[in-house]
Symmetry: D2
Subunit: 355 residues, 4 copies
């Protein structure tokens, strides 16, 4: 339920209304400051609340609306139609991800293999225009006998790469027990596709302060995905980025997953949360990545996640879907053409790759 306040409502009145809503009805009011108006969001047991009664709460109340979607805080209605943005602190400064900002590119290897590779990769992707480095310390692998990531020691290497380049760090949490260590290094914590409905983990990443990248589960409907985001929002963390990475369908012969780019316009109608597209997992083959990255920009994504490995053929995981740095440089050039055409590219024409 949202209470839309008139333009110019005095601060004291806003405070009074929130206070009173809280004490009278036992709901938790949340102030959402938009460009023009302030909205008070109410989540909790609102079934008993009556629109008329709320309207009489204050002459400054303009409108009272019920959020019809099952996801409340994640819905676009909850913010009265205003898209949110996620600001991430990186050593190079704050970076915003959202509909009204330039497209951010996240790049890096599937897993952190050693210091040299992660720092070299970080420098290369930064030179090409990436704002964030991705790299797995803890890896969800189908087989217990496959490389499981270097764990804690990989976190140190990510910290070193962060310091060396100024890039923000995005890495995955698989076990809530590792969360404290991860948030010391990560600027954005990733919840992987296989844990999208690990509700215990969602509650825990919702209870810490770093922004969360929530990957869509392989068989998750868009509604399931937004409900998973709602778990994080409901736990108190408003900074969630939704990342599409391919869904599972009947055709897995050439592309490993089916990248559902139509989620972009669908999400834009449903939610205020920013969107990221991962064409590397979304297709599973580096040859298909450029076309899908370009398409994602044209379709309106706010950010991209692209796997880059210095030597894909030797990668400990996901080699076939990784670009090498030269191909990534070239791709960034191509992305700029579309990114500029849609007015969402701030990266200068990439210089020749420097290490």
């Amino acid at each position: 339920m949202i209470v839309v306040m008139r333009v110019g409502t005095p601060e004291a009145e806003l405070e009074r209304v929130c206070e009173e809503l809280s004490t009278t009805f036992g709901v938790s009011p949340e102030r959402i400051v938009g460009k023009h108006k302030t909205v008070i969001g109410l989540v909790g047991d609102t079934a008993e609340l009556d629109n008329m009664q709320l309207k009489e709460f204050s002459p400054w109340v303009e409108q009272v609306l019920r959020v019809e979607q099952p996801f409340k805080k994640a819905s676009l209605e909850y913010r009265n139609g205003e898209y949110s943005e996620v600001w991430v602190n990186t050593p190079d400064g704050k970076v915003a991800i959202g509909k009204h900002h330039p497209i951010s590119v996240v790049a890096g290897p599937c897993s952190v293999e050693n210091e040299e590779m992660i720092i070299a990769t970080a420098k290369r992707v930064k030179a090409a225009g990436a704002k964030f480095l991705r790299g797995g310390a803890y890896k969800p692998r189908t087989s217990p006998y496959a490389f499981q990531g270097h764990g804690e020691s990989a976190l140190d290497l990510l910290a070193a790469a962060r310091e060396a380049t100024g890039l923000g760090i995005i890495t995955e949490v698989m076990d809530a027990a590792d969360l404290d260590k991860i948030v010391e290094v990560a600027d954005v914590v990733q919840v992987g596709a296989r844990n999208m409905q690990n509700f215990s983990l969602l509650k825990k990443v919702g209870a810490q302060e770093k922004p969360v990248l929530l990957k869509r589960g392989m068989a998750a409907t868009i509604e399931d995905w937004l409900m998973a985001a709602e778990y994080i929002l409901a736990a108190g963390n408003p900074n969630v980025i939704l990342c599409e990475r391919g869904i599972r369908t009947f055709d897995r012969q050439y592309a490993r997953n089916t990248l559902d780019l139509a989620c972009i316009p669908v999400l834009r109608q449903l939610t205020h949360l920013p969107i990221m597209i991962d064409p590397s997992h979304g297709t599973g083959k580096w040859e298909y990545v450029p076309a899908m990255a370009l398409a994602a920009i044209a379709a309106g994504t706010d950010s991209l996640m692209i796997e880059v490995h210095p030597a894909p053929a030797k990668a400990l995981s996901d080699g076939p879907q990784s670009l090498n740095p030269e191909k990534f440089d070239r791709l960034m050039g191509e992305l700029g053409v579309i990114g500029r055409a849609v007015g969402r590219w701030e990266i200068p024409q990439p210089a020749a790759a420097l290490v």
Copy 2:
């Protein structure tokens, strides 16, 4: 199997080789004239053919290669890596659809409802830059009680619209018995998704001369789809356009189908045939059409099929996925931005809509 001939092979030698291949081995040689070289494609019982034996056929033979894919004539290998184009005769002249040509736009209503609507729509979409008018005379409807199309009389209206505007006509054949009447009017014959594996129909459209638009079946893998194209090619018609229109997946709550845009880079690796994307059926809602049409261009499609209806709310079929003419005009403007960025747009900035 393909026989690659050296640059400069004399015409007489080409003829001799084809003749001899045919008489000696009982296969049907097909000459494929590329930019530099000519390739002789062989389909039929080639299991017995021996590469060495074929190489000794003529000193002009450069290479003999076996097509490993189950689809032969449809494979990119069969044309030695050269993409094909489909030339369509329209009243306004020949239009090419293919990787090395500007993007063609097909627009129009789901079904032909009456003369006024089809001619008015045709004029509007032409003014906005479309080259082809789509419109159903025979409609595949889930329910036998739903509007089944006006049939033969609708063909007359399409002919009138063709004459009035110069647009090429694309319309669907559902029953081989109607094929003769349809090809009198249609410049491109469409085989719908539900008939993609109606092999009898594929053989019959393969035995006539008009280009064929082959829509992907809802549960067809890319290989199934190329095998369906192979039926048409094998029957003698080389002019096939592949049209992706959304596949069926577990999530049908917002978008009716899942538009598989990754088919574009996948098809580019596998086949020489030109590609069309239909974001209207592919998503099932007009609100999602612009983002997906833009994405399709960025991903490299050769053509687009977009449903346009003068009054979608009153449409006899598929209203929710149709744009009205004003929205289509606006979309064409947006498509031009991306189309020009990728160098495949020849439509001038659309003038104000004229009726």
Copy 3:
């Protein structure tokens, strides 16, 4: 819409009501004689019809109900909750397929290969208790270069097998142009999964008199399937059997399709039409056929279709999913155990296989 007539309504009154409904409202009344009551089914433009008005038509009208499902004649409501049965004329006499009859088994090869094999197979499956012989004359094959069936000459062989054994014949129609020839031989005409939404073909099999076996399309929802049945019923043929043969899902590694056995209780709630299960196509491997055939009986199927080939390893099509005659004999023994437990098995303990 259905008009339920009271028990004991005189024949003359039934006639009068039907006549009047037809002349007054332009709908086509259909009399459905149940165990106790007669129901008059109305399909057509019934939107304008008013329940009260119809009730006043005759004092013998007990109730007027609207069929809420999009499929009308196929719905269980349309027959007032009474399941239908399909009677098939075979040389050995009439065989009923339906909920209140013993389970019928259809067996035979994917395609008719030659006279010896089809007659030998027919004799074996008859000895084991099958009532029908399946065998393809026209085969839908993914590749145009694969064996396409022997066509018309195979029909003659089926006729010979029919005469030699007394079994009913079930064979597929792929092209309406072949329908006349097929119905001369076939006791049941099959529409294959790939043609389930070939609406032209559905109308044509609906306009002839032989019962129709309608296979479920690979991506057809249960509603799509019942709507396809509705096309046949609406065209005038009330004898439709629904055959589940596996749907397409993300897991195709071991079983080729996913056999949706839950369609049995779902269909029982929705439709009066009889049900057949095809575990051979449904799984794609003979090793999985027995377990699924047993399960189908326990779940309540009315009939089974099982592929049997004298030498599966040498089959021209679908070898991997065919049982050899010895395995089929053994399976029939096992099926009898479950079939008798549920009281729907009339085949005596199979004798030792005789050729």
Copy 4:
């Protein structure tokens, strides 16, 4: 890799071989005692091991075989074709679940709501023949605002129900932090479908001693599922039961999921692990549960999990898929008919329901 030892190998020699394999190659040998022979399973870095070398290890070595499947300990090959069984300690004694044992039935509500309901339900399902009580203390719910289970206090109620009835308890772990508390009460720990690839959790349930019920993920292939089981086995817990509960497909209109019963014969070829079928989640509607439970027995399942709630209409979760106790009694009677027909039912004709 497995080393098959000859019949009659002396104990001392078995010990010597295991010892030496361990010290020489650094692998962890596991002794699997079959009916006739003992097999030594080796998992770890076996790539370097040479069959001949291993054969020369002892004259008692009969054969050395490489496990070709990606899942090793879970494979049927690893146990040389011998199916395993899981023995569960319940207050009423040890119960075995496996191919060579009578079918076990697990029944109970989705979530534990209060003491009265859980104890009453437990008594009813026990009277009807169930061996295990299911009931959720921690509930994975799509919405953060839905009932999340009573948590720890519900565990106490399960303990009370266990004591009151002698039934074994099966309950789900969603968070590794709750595992210690859960295993104090549970006789079998359940990992839910949404956590099937929560690899951290799999490792932790693999490191404790209670048997684990591993539900199949909604988009998990059979191979994914067996790899998830392998995580548990590799962590040291050999007692894993595989539970199919429906996969996600394009058709969700009537049944909520598609119950993949063909997994039964597929799993029998691939793995030695016992199988459970959950038709309640697998279909999502109580009306479809009986047919699917019957089918599961006919197809060869080792156990069934069925939701039973004293008043489904008032259930805090999953009401629509729960049977009431009367319907469950009736179903157990029907299951007995099929269960006895296949020789796997030891429950006497259920007495009239007693509370």
